[in-house]
């Protein structure tokens, strides 16, 4: 499937804007936007003493940034590895898998697991389980023969539905209290981010980023497709498996913090690719991350402070993302 690979533009700096190459210009603008939205998030509508407001909003801001970063990086890397621009981890049911694993923990270990065990430890266990299960699933889906992309997407979506139904099933088997606790944590909401896991989540994200950085030189090559990558001397199997593991850890982080959001990754990755104009990861990855932070922090600020809709952002993202997805799929089919 060479279609995603063909966009390696030979000279990304051809179109210069104000003395900068286009990607650099885009990054600069996005950086500025990110800064503006962060400042607005922290300052707008703040009443009361700063010594309360700053740590309170700061924790929320950090959580949102972690989510945005995880979603953006995991989506771009996932698209690189699977060599397409339509699939994303959440479309493939990754976050539903995380929800299922969390539910299963409570189901099999009792509600004590939810309240008794240290949440950080529980999160660690869940991440390990997530890596193992998604590893198995994606080994089976991606490392076999080359498969039809549409079938993969559909299978992923149906897996997502299966995971969701199974978790609902288990949730119904729990006693009503545990059910309530779980139910609340799985409704995607950016207004009520879970901040108990901030510390471990930041640690995990930093760790993942370090590993990803060591692999950074392979990203552009992997984007050329399996056979080219192997030809150019990449240990394909090993690299892909490691990257998919990193992706599942990042998905676990974002789902644990805000709950499942299907289309956010697709939205930012698609936008980042089209804004940057080429597929070099040294531009696309930061662009996607900055875009994601701008969308989440800025969007949340606008909705919360200006329109007073606090939980609507996830709904709006699903709406826009769904439209982008249909357009992408249809454009691909029309070709």
């Amino acid at each position: 499937m060479p279609e995603a690979a063909t966009t390696l533009v030979p000279a990304p700096g051809l179109r210069r804007i104000g003395g900068l190459s286009r990607p650099a210009f885009v990054l600069l603008v996005l950086g500025a936007l990110t800064l503006i939205s962060i400042v607005c998030f922290m300052v707008l509508g703040a009443k009361g003493s700063w010594s309360f407001v700053i740590p309170f909003r700061g924790r929320k801001l950090l959580a949102l940034c972690l989510v945005a970063y995880s979603v953006a990086i995991s989506t771009v890397l996932f698209q690189t590895v699977t060599n397409n621009r339509i699939l994303t981890p959440s479309i493939m049911g990754f976050d539903a898998l995380y929800v299922l694993l969390t539910t299963a923990t409570v189901f099999f270990l009792g509600v004590g697991a939810l309240t008794g065990i240290d949440p950080q430890l529980r999160f660690g266990i869940e991440i390990v389980a997530m890596v193992v299960f998604s590893g198995l699933l994606f080994r089976w889906l991606f490392l076999g023969e080359e498969r039809n992309l549409t079938l993969l997407v559909l299978v992923g979506i149906v897996f997502g539905i299966l995971f969701r139904s199974l978790s609902q099933f288990m949730q119904r088997m729990l006693d009503p209290n545990a059910f309530q606790v779980l139910q609340d944590s799985f409704f995607a909401s950016f207004a009520t981010v879970d901040t108990t896991l901030l510390f471990i989540a930041s640690g995990v994200v930093v760790l993942v980023s370090l590993v990803a950085m060591r692999l950074a030189h392979t990203f552009d090559v992997l984007a050329l497709g399996r056979s080219h990558a192997i030809n150019l001397g990449i240990d394909y199997r090993r690299t892909v498996v490691i990257i998919l593991m990193l992706v599942s850890v990042l998905v676990a982080v974002s789902t644990a913090l805000v709950g499942p959001i299907t289309f956010f990754g697709l939205l930012v990755a698609t936008l980042a690719h089209s804004l940057v104009g080429n597929s070099r990861h040294c531009y696309v990855l930061p662009a996607a991350a900055l875009l994601a932070i701008t969308c989440l922090v800025g969007g949340q600020t606008i909705l919360e402070r200006i329109f007073a809709f606090d939980t609507a952002l996830s709904i709006i993202i699903e709406f826009l993302g769904g439209i982008v997805f249909i357009i992408l799929v249809l454009r691909r089919a029309a070709r």
Binding site: R147, N148, T150, L151, V153, L154, V155, I157, V158, F159, I161, L162, R164, S165, L166, Q168, F169, R172, M173, T262, F309, T311, A312, I315, I316, E318, F319, G322, I323, F325, I326, V329, L330, A333, A334
Partner: protein, 319 residues
Amino acid sequence: MRMLSLAIAVTIALAIVSLFIGVSNISLLGLLSASPEERPMQVLLISRIPRTLAIILSGSAMAVAGLVMQMIVRNRFVEPSTAGTTESASLGFLVATLVVPGWPLMGKMLIAAGFALAGTALFLRILRAVPLRDVMLVPLVGIMLGGIVGAVASFIAYRFELLPSLLAWNMGDFSGILRGRYELLWIGFGCAVLAYIAADRFTVAGMGRDFTTNLGLNYQRVMVLGLVIVSLVSATVLVTAGSIPFLGLIIPNLVSLMVGDNMRRTVPWVVVMGAGFVLACDVLGRIIRFPYEIPISVVVGVIGSAVFLYLLLRTRRHA
């Protein structure tokens, strides 16, 4: 024919089992000895029989709706929940609840059916806009369209603080069915009968537009009839029980594996298997965590998505 009678017998047995499961204990002996005014008889008449009827009616109607849809779209993987129909119906019901709260359920159901019709027509319009070489693309676009319509519905529901009701409609559940609350389903069942009467037309339409026209049938009219049937069924089931995912997908596919694609022959099978499947799932949902219940949409969702996955991956091996 013998196989079909066997299937009917199993379904009837399941229906009888369904009548006697519940918190309030009813035994045959108790029923016979008690007078009609006493408790067991009342429970049976007001709660159990309506519930069982509702399950049979909605199960068979949804399965037939799926079959009709697969015929007119000419794709094995569509059904109301993979074509945006269910979500459009629930958007319509939401709008009806907000705009005309005083209307009887029948009126709201018709509005929901109108939205379902529009949503499905939009789906068909999108499909016509692109040449689809890929069978899998059709349900994919449908599921996504459903997601978009669903997001619009949740936004409206969020604004007017109706999110819990929306969640309740999307979660199919027969536990709230009582006498007087399920009769709309007869309309859905009537649609299934209509589909049986028009079965040959749908079979022909399933062969394609040119073929249909060649045989002297008005293709457009068959399509519209099919769309109306599907929308009415989805809307009636949605407003009485809530949505039941994948039912219309797996039953017709299983039947087609067993008896082929002539709709005149498959409709009775689809009706019986649809009713039997939902009965079995409902009985399962009621006994697995007795005395609590697991909603039907959860049970069907688990089984249905697993069967759907099997169907998808099976096609690949054959293709």
